[in-house]
């Protein structure tokens, strides 16, 4: 019996990859007024951004309950030797704590819960790596050790169109440094456990150039992805420019899921990678 891999919906792993590696996804919730949606289940990313721009109601997000995790763990326990459950940074969401509580509710299988300190494909890649190791027959402890070693190697930069959504969602953190800027600029952030201010750029063209510079300075990478929220043409341009850093056909393009969109808003463009050890 092999090890099962669980992530939450903020991992943004494209559907085809999830299917190929049999990765289980526990959805967070998106709340528009009185309506609640399962992130990526009954509301796709495209539907979310459509609604975000059309609706007057500002959405919020909420973490999965321990029960939701326990249900998935129980199901996987039936035909797996162990479970590795990898999640969005504990400083940005309570998701990883729900998973840890569920771990206690399901004592009949060894479970390792890992706080990735990142978001989106930043930890989506950890899910893929874990699944590959599981397929190769590694033990749960061995997989967990290797994945934990990768956590410090995650890099993620993103440029936002506005800080409005981060501020509303209470995730502003140290990026409050960017609030109140009188010039028309776009804030660039880095995610390292929390949202950190990086620098400020005036156009998307410059944002792309700077993200290529920053990513290149830290490379090379095992995996590289471009991230976007309703900004696919920009993501394609960014991926094309990262071609000298990483094989173009291996750069994953991921649209940020609705839960991340609640906090980042539309027009986010980012790059994330796992540095080669």
């Amino acid at each position: 019996m092999s090890v099962a891999v669980v992530v939450d919906s903020t991992a943004d792993i494209p559907q085809a990859m999830r299917d190929e590696y049999a990765i289980s996804v526990v959805p967070l919730s998106i709340i528009f007024g009185n309506e609640t949606f399962q992130d990526g289940v009954d509301m796709t990313s495209d539907q979310f951004y459509q609604r975000l721009t059309e609706s007057n109601v500002h959405p919020s997000s909420s973490q999965p309950s321990p029960g939701a995790f326990a249900e998935v763990y129980e199901r996987l326990a039936q035909n797996h030797a162990g479970i590795i459950s990898i999640h969005i940074s504990g400083k940005l969401s309570g998701t990883v704590r729900s998973a840890a509580q569920a771990q206690e509710l399901v004592p009949n299988i060894p479970i390792r819960v890992i706080d990735s300190g990142s978001v989106s494909m930043g930890f989506g890649f950890l899910g893929l790596e874990a699944a590959k190791l599981a397929r190769a027959g590694h033990t749960l402890d061995d997989i967990a050790t290797q994945i934990e070693r990768m956590v410090p190697n995650i890099r993620l930069w993103a440029v936002l169109d506005t800080l409005k959504y981060l501020e509303r969602g209470g995730r502003i953190g140290r990026t409050r440094a960017f609030l109140g800027t009188l010039l028309n600029v776009k804030p660039m952030i880095q995610i390292k456990e929390e949202v950190l201010p990086a620098e400020q750029v005036r156009t998307h063209k410059k944002a792309i150039a700077r993200m290529v510079d920053l990513a290149s300075a830290e490379g090379p990478y095992e995996h590289l992805a471009v991230l976007h929220s309703a900004a696919e043409p920009l993501a394609t341009e960014l991926a094309n420019q990262l071609g000298s850093l990483h094989p173009r056909d291996q750069i994953v393009t991921a649209q940020l899921t609705g839960v991340i969109g609640v906090h980042g808003g539309p027009g986010v463009l980012g790059v994330t990678g796992i540095k080669k050890a």
Binding site: T181, L182, L183, N184, V185, L196, E199, Q200
Partner: protein
């Protein structure tokens, strides 16, 4: 000095330097008029005078020449303004080092001090150029050494130095093409020769008084006593220097232009303070009667809001004018960001107007010094701004080539790790600040910010303050002139035509964002008209933005990035 003038002690040295400061003060206008470029920027004579004035202020008249020189050079280093002031302060430093502990200076002692002074001057600049103050310092030292070798006493050596300095000054046009073209001698060199002349006059027993009416301290007033709770608009102060200023008319006119008006002075020097919604109008009116210096414009509405928000007093403009040097030279500081967590590296920037101050503060620049064009901050202003920040690592954005040397001098005087980004214009400082990365360390930030300077072109539009010939182009006083990245490239009678010609010189296809910062001499509506014209002509631009810079003298500072 003894009866024969063969030696000089500490008290005599101090009296000599004070006389030199007065003699230079009498010649400030003459030295300023030697400036080659017709731009209304920090003038050599003013900067050297303010530096020497600060050097001799409150010095203890100790009997030892070395003890006096030691005090003077330390004050000179802190009081230095502008590149010429910094070089003068280094000359004074070398002079003090050359005294080497001696209580009395004889001929050879003085010659050695001059020789060391010249050495320091050459070390102060990265690429020494002949035909400047450096040459004058060197020739003065060489002639002093030669006179001392021939057994000359203190006064005779000093006389030899003055003769050498004057000869070197006269030679400067043969050494530098731009001086020859402009038909002038080097301003800094002339300033130094005047300083030495002042020393000699005192040694020969002449009395040199401060020029009547020209001392800012004599027309000073206490701004604290003028301000009240319901201040509004812009607190505007300036000095107006001229020859036949119709003082009563000027006072009456300015009184009609705003609130809390105080105007003091005479027909040669006026100090004015006014609260007005339109500071540009007041300055435009006043400049018709002479030269403006020490301009300070503070937005009182914004200041009050800042005090309310942060509990911090946002500028020291209320205390700066108490000191004549501060009143003449700027040095207003903005609110200190006491948030070490948000910004692990502190930033100090120099900005020439309240609008720029606000923008830099909004970009988390911890300390903004008001200054730049026409009012170069002193080394001391920079030292204090750096010291006030809570961070141990500080980056300085001088934003003006004439503040670069004072920044480097400040860097050496503070007990913090300081890096200077050589920004020569405010837009350069702006792009450097945008490139500041909160997650990177000091060295990476310095590299990225310095690299960013190359991503912007700066177009500055101002009015020529004197007739000049620059690169075979004749410029008349009063014409609109355009500077591209600090170099004068266009002049003409029609401002729009000058701006258009400037834009033609920039390969606009390479740029995406144009920002127009309008100054105190123009307004938002005019800037918007210009913005519309640029948007229409260069349709590929991503953004054309209008911002208030509030800078004096420069109608527009335009950046293309």
């Amino acid at each position: 000095m003894d009866q024969q003038g063969s030696v000089c002690d500490g008290v005599m040295l101090l009296r000599g330097l004070e006389a030199a400061a007065h003699w230079l003060e009498q010649h400030v206008g003459e030295v300023n008029a030697l400036n080659v470029f017709p731009v209304p920027d920090g003038d050599t004579g003013t900067n050297m005078h303010l530096t020497l004035g600060a050097a001799v202020k409150d010095v203890q008249p100790l009997p030892s020449a070395a003890a006096v020189a030691d005090q003077v050079y330390r004050k000179a280093l802190m009081g230095a303004r502008g590149n010429s002031g910094v070089i003068l302060s280094q000359i004074i430093r070398g002079f003090a080092e050359g005294i080497d502990g001696k209580a009395q200076l004889d001929g050879p002692g003085l010659a050695e001090a001059f020789r060391r002074a010249a050495e320091r001057a050459y070390k102060a600049v990265m690429k020494p150029t002949e035909g400047t103050i450096l040459t004058v310092a060197r020739v003065a030292g060489e002639d002093a050494v030669a006179a001392a070798a021939a057994d000359a006493g203190y006064t005779q050596v000093l006389a030899a130095a003055v003769a050498g300095a004057n000869r070197a000054v006269a030679e400067t046009p043969n050494q530098l093409k731009q001086l020859r073209d402009a038909g002038v001698v080097d301003a800094g060199g002339k300033g130094l020769a005047i300083v030495l002349e002042g020393l000699l006059k005192q040694a020969r027993g002449e009395t040199i008084e401060r020029p009547v009416g020209s001392a800012a301290v004599e027309v000073a007033f206490d701004i604290d006593e003028i301000h009240s709770e319901d201040d509004f608009g812009y607190c505007t102060t300036f000095l107006l220097e001229g020859s036949d200023i119709p003082f009563e008319d000027v006072r009456a006119m300015i009184a009609n232009m705003g609130q809390s008006v105080v105007v003091v002075g005479d027909e040669t020097l006026v100090k004015a303070h006014v609260h007005t919604e339109r500071p540009g109008d007041v300055l435009n009116y006043a400049i018709g009667f002479g030269a403006l210096t020490g301009i300070e414009i503070a937005n009182m509405d914004k200041q009050r809001a800042a005090i309310k928000d942060t509990g911090l007093v946002s500028t020291e403009s209320s205390r700066a004018p108490k000191e004549s040097t501060a009143a003449l030279g700027g040095g207003t500081r903005g609110a200190v960001v006491e948030d070490e967590e948000v910004a692990p590296i502190g930033i100090v920037a120099v900005a020439p107007g309240q609008g720029f101050v606000d923008i830099f503060q909004s970009l988390n620049v911890g300390n903004v010094i008001t200054g730049g064009q026409t009012m170069n901050p002193s080394t001391k202003d920079l030292v204090e701004a750096i010291s006030q920040l809570p961070q141990r690592e500080v980056i300085v954005l001088p934003n003006n080539s004439n503040i670069l040397m004072a920044s480097r001098q400040a860097q050496e005087l503070v007990d913090k790790t300081v890096r200077i980004i050589p920004s020569k214009t405010v837009p350069q400082g702006m792009v450097a600040m945008l490139a500041f990365n909160y997650t990177e360390d000091l060295e990476d930030n310095v590299a990225a910010m310095t690299k960013a300077l190359g991503n912007v072109r700066t177009l500055e539009i101002t009015t020529a303050v004197r007739d000049a010939t620059v690169d075979d182009k004749a410029v008349r006083s009063g014409q609109t002139i355009g500077l591209l990245d600090g170099t004068l490239v266009e002049a003409g009678d029609d401002r729009d035509a000058v701006i258009d010609a400037m834009l033609e010189r920039v390969d606009m296809d390479r740029y995406e964002v144009v920002t127009i910062y309008y100054g105190a001499t123009t307004d938002e509506a005019q800037a918007q008209v210009l913005a519309d014209r640029i948007t229409e002509r260069y349709s590929h631009l991503d953004t054309v933005e209008v911002q208030s810079g509030d800078q004096p003298f420069y109608d527009f500072i335009i950046s293309a990035e």
